[in-house]
Every structure is written in structure tokens, then in C-alpha cells.
């Protein structure tokens, strides 16, 4: 077992060697521009892209023509939301999203507010799920788009996408989802789920960085987005720019591998995740954040009360994880996702996200359990709050010196 151990697979995943192998020829001998229609170099590159399009389409149950390749999920989110807002402005200007979305969605919505959009940011319940009744109550005749993420990047909660899309459609709105954390991890089927637009990226599923997808439905209804990148009219005019052929080929291979291995992987990873979670919640005053029934198989987010996340990560120096604590940021604000669940700031500061992946082994999880437990106990020995808690002092009643 090699140290440090990578348990931050929700941030990015390592490239699968099989994906790398598929990509390599497209850097060298098959270097052509996929848009070069009049010679063999172009055709070979185009073939690679076409095949990748099939592989992607198969994973999410759509047709090849519904795939728009982008530079990643952030660009796909921007293109989907801004593109729909621009294309459908005659129909209305109202967009519904949720407070726990990724910044790529939230900041895009904020940008559109300056351009005249009305945006509703739905709160989530304590478990991280949105309230469907609140969604329905927020729908108006002006609503053109409901955009709610599939699986959350910090806590792994999976939203009731089918029900959400049904509500959106009942009011004549489109449904978009940022499925970056879900595609390739759990079954996502754009037809069964009623998805009109969907963003995701390759590097979260063992593919390369710098390539992603916006799925745009072509039938029932035919969805159109206004291009946000003008130029040579690639991707049927919706996203200009020379295609990143090696990246796209890698994305295709990554999708194929996920499709074939997802079911067994999900079982294996959720068993490891449950083992990790069970052992770590044996520690006093540790809490799992988010719904534990509707969630991704490979992630858990745990708050260890009375220890600070960043300090804790330092003690877990052989583990690469992430924390909801934002001690390094100028604002000192902890995770807005955890705060949206109603977590107090101190519990948000005390959270650690463990993201398991394809290359995580049981041996690594056993090591992670021991390492984390030791670190938590060590930091509690150092923590004045832990001492006060043990003495039975109610910390909420203390007047903290302002800082």
C-alpha cells in the first residue's frame, strides 16, 4: 500500500490506464482536426470522436446527436443555463435552482439575474434533499428552467430527479441537471429520468480533465440552446471550437468502462464506505451529514464535533481528503452546502469528506479508519471545546470573545 492514500475522488479521479491507452494515438499518429473533412487525418480523428459519442450516449441512454462536447461540466452548466435563458426568453425569465448546487450553477444564475432573470433558490431539508412541494409552489408560468443537481459533490445526496422533472414538465418548463458526480457512478438514464439537459465531465469518472458534455434533448421536446461560444459552428452550432479529440476519446472510453463496471463497483464501494462510516461514527460526537438512504455509493461526509477540519486534515497527513472548513479562505466561511442543511458553523468547520474511487482498496480503508480515529482523538486532546464539553459546559451559552 502506497502513502498518501487518495480519498478525494469527488474532487477528481485518477485516469484509468485503459483510458490513457485509448487516448494515446490521438496525441501522435491520429492528431488530425475532426473538422477536416477532406483528408484522412481529419476522418480518422472524426471517427474517434463519433465512436466516443456512441460510448457516451450508451451510458446515459440518449442518441449521439444529443451530445455536445465541452471543456468540462462548468462550461456545460454555463451553456445549458445561459443558452436556455437566451433561447427561451420569449417564454419567460424564471429559473429555479437550489442553494446546494455547485458554484458553476449558482454563479451562472447570479450572472443571469443581472441580465433580467428571476431566480428562485430552493432551500434543502436537513438531509440535503429539496422539498418537492416547495418546488411545485415556486413554479410559475414564467418558469423556463428547473436546474437541480443529480448527486451532491460535498455530501453525495441524490435528489429525486424523476419527480423533479415531472413537476417541471407539468408547468411547461425544461429540466436540467448537473450530474457530474452521478454519471458513471449510478444509473442515469435521460429518458427514464425525464432530463432535458445534463452536464457532466470526464475527470470525475476516471477520464481526463478538460472535457465534458452537455446533453441536449432533441425529441419530446426538441431543446435548443443559444451558443455561448461563437466561431466555426462545431457541435451543430452550439459550441464552436476545435474538438479536443484525445480528451473526447478518453471520455468515451471512460463512459464505456463505467457502463460495464458501475454495478459491481457501486456494490464494492458502498460496502467500503459503510465500513468506514460505521467505524468512524463509533467515535463519540461524530455525525454523518446528509441523507444516508438516497446518496451516491462512494462518498461520506462526517462531522467530528469539537475538532476543526483543517487541523484534522493535517493530522491525517497520509490521507488526501477534503473539509467543509474554509480556514484558508479570506472569508473564514465554512461550506455553504453544509450550512444549507442547517448545520451550525462549528459543525461545518468540523467536517471531513471521504470520496472513494475505483482504485480504493479495503486495506486503504482500514488504514484510513485507524489514521482518522487517531487524529480525531489527538486533536480532541488539544481542544479546549472538547474539554469543556466533557466537563458538561454548554458551549452555546458561552459568550465568545469576538474575533
Amino acid at each position: 500500500m502506497e502513502l498518501p492514500i487518495y480519498l478525494d475522488n469527488n474532487a477528481t479521479t485518477p485516469l484509468d490506464p485503459r483510458v490513457l491507452e485509448a487516448m494515446l494515438p490521438y496525441f501522435t499518429s491520429k492528431f488530425g482536426n475532426a473538422a477536416s473533412r477532406n483528408h484522412a487525418f481529419g476522418w480518422v480523428a472524426e471517427e474517434g470522436v463519433d465512436y466516443a459519442r456512441e460510448q457516451v450516449a450508451k451510458l446515459i441512454g440518449c442518441t449521439e446527436k444529443e451530445i455536445i462536447f465541452t471543456s468540462g461540466a462548468t462550461e456545460a452548466d454555463n451553456l445549458g443555463i445561459k443558452g436556455v435563458f437566451e433561447m427561451y426568453q420569449d417564454k419567460g425569465n424564471h429559473i429555479i435552482t437550489a442553494t446546494t448546487e455547485h458554484k458553476a450553477v449558482l454563479d451562472t444564475c447570479k450572472h443571469l439575474e443581472k441580465l433580467g432573470a428571476k431566480v428562485t433558490y430552493l432551500r434543502v431539508k436537513e438531509d440535503g434533499l429539496i422539498d418537492l412541494q416547495e418546488l411545485e409552489a415556486a413554479m410559475t408560468e414564467q418558469t423556463i428552467l428547473v436546474t437541480i443537481m443529480y448527486g451532491n459533490n460535498e455530501i453525495g445526496v441524490v435528489q429525486p430527479v424523476k419527480e423533479i422533472s415531472a413537476i417541471a414538465h407539468k408547468f411547461g418548463a425544461l429540466f436540467m441537471t448537473d450530474a457530474t458526480q452521478a454519471v458513471g457512478k449510478i444509473p442515469v438514464d435521460v429518458n427514464a429520468d425525464g432530463i432535458d439537459l445534463m452536464a457532466f465531465s470526464a475527470h470525475k469518472m476516471y477520464g481526463p480533465k478538460g472535457v465534458g458534455v452537455l446533453y441536449v434533448r432533441r425529441k419530446n421536446p426538441r431543446v435548443k440552446v443559444t451558443a455561448q461560444m461563437d466561431g466555426g459552428g462545431h457541435e451543430r452550432g452550439m459550441r464552436s471550437g476545435t474538438l479536443n479529440v484525445p480528451g473526447i476519446v478518453g471520455l468515451g472510453k471512460a463512459c464505456e468502462l463505467c457502463r460495464l463496471e458501475m454495478d459491481t463497483e457501486a456494490v464494492r464501494l458502498s460496502a467500503l464506505r459503510d465500513k468506514l462510516e460505521k467505524s468512524l461514527t463509533e467515535l463519540e460526537e461524530s455525525y454523518i451529514n446528509g441523507n444516508t438512504q438516497f446518496r451516491l455509493p462512494h462518498v461520506t461526509n462526517i462531522s467530528f464535533k469539537y475538532v476543526e477540519g483543517e487541523g484534522l486534515m493535517m493530522a491525517m497527513k497520509d490521507l488526501a481528503v477534503s473539509s467543509g472548513s474554509a480556514c484558508t479562505s479570506a472569508s473564514l466561511e465554512p461550506s455553504y452546502v453544509l450550512k444549507s442543511l442547517g448545520l451550525s458553523d462549528d459543525l461545518a468547520h468540523s467536517s471531513i469528506r471521504f470520496g472513494l474511487g475505483r482504485f480504493t482498496t479495503e486495506e486503504e480503508i482500514d488504514y484510513a479508519i485507524e489514521n482518522t480515529k487517531k487524529a480525531v482523538l489527538h486533536l480532541r486532546d488539544l481542544s479546549p471545546l472538547w474539554e469543556m464539553f466533557k466537563e458538561g459546559i454548554d458551549l452555546s451559552k458561552i459568550e465568545w470573545a469576538e474575533h
Partner: protein, 137 residues
């Protein structure tokens, strides 16, 4: 962000972790910061009849830099007189630990903790508290 070697060293082997009897007249306790801000420091000093700090202890809830800052502070306090202790400036801590700009607040907190512990000691022993001149907020 990588931590400096000195921060790592204090973090890995923190000096003077512990608790002094806060009810003792010779002990001054400073508790600064707030849990919702992600750092709380408790720093205690024990002062003898010659106004010399004979012992110092800390416990800190916070990031590595906060722990290192308070560990260093206790190390510096021991053997100093109360008046000398008052001259410890947060920038001395920043320099010693090579703290990056985003971590300067950790050193400020340590300085606040020192001053607040000294004032607690003074008030307990019938002296007026020092005016805490610097405001960092």
C-alpha cells in the same frame, strides 16, 4: 497550501498542552476566538510572586497554524515576566512560523490570548486590566 516546517514541527509536537487550575489566584486564563469562526484558543499562565511566568499551557481548536501559534506562545511565555510577555507581538509569531497572509489571524488570536490571560491574572489579583490597545477586527 503547504505548511512551513516550523508550523509542522509545533503541530506534530505541540509544547505545553494542558490545563492549569483556573480557580487558582496565581493562574490567568485567556479564552479567545469562537467555535463558529473555526478557532478557539485557551491559554493559561501561572505567575509567581516575582511576576515571572513559571508555567504556561494551551488548548486550541483550530487549524494547524492556530495550534502552532499557541504552542509557540506558551514556549515564549515561560520564564518571562508579565511585563515582558505583554510585548509579544503577533508579527513575531508570523515571522517565527513563516505564516502566510491568510493565517495571520491565527497569530493575532495568540496575541489576544496572551493579553487576555494576563488581564485575567491581574483582575484576580486586584489590579486593573491593561487596555487592549490593538484592535484587529
Amino acid at each position: 497550501m503547504a505548511y512551513s516546517e516550523k508550523v509542522m514541527e509545533h503541530y506534530t509536537n505541540p509544547r505545553n498542552v494542558g490545563t492549569l487550575n483556573k480557580d487558582s489566584k496565581s493562574v490567568g486564563t485567556g479564552l479567545v476566538g469562537a467555535p463558529e469562526c473555526g478557532d478557539v484558543m485557551r491559554l493559561q499562565i501561572e505567575v509567581d510572586e516575582n511576576n515571572v511566568i513559571t508555567d504556561a499551557k494551551f488548548k486550541t481548536f483550530g487549524c494547524g497554524s492556530a495550534i502552532a501559534s499557541s504552542s509557540l506562545a506558551t514556549e515564549w511565555l515561560k520564564g518571562k515576566t508579565v511585563d515582558e510577555a505583554l510585548t509579544i507581538d503577533n508579527m513575531d509569531i508570523v515571522e517565527e512560523l513563516a505564516l502566510p497572509p491568510v493565517k495571520i489571524h491565527c497569530s493575532v488570536l495568540a496575541e489576544d490570548a496572551i493579553k487576555s490571560a494576563i488581564n485575567d491574572y491581574r483582575v484576580k489579583n486586584g489590579m486593573a486590566p491593561f487596555e487592549l490597545a490593538k484592535s484587529h477586527h
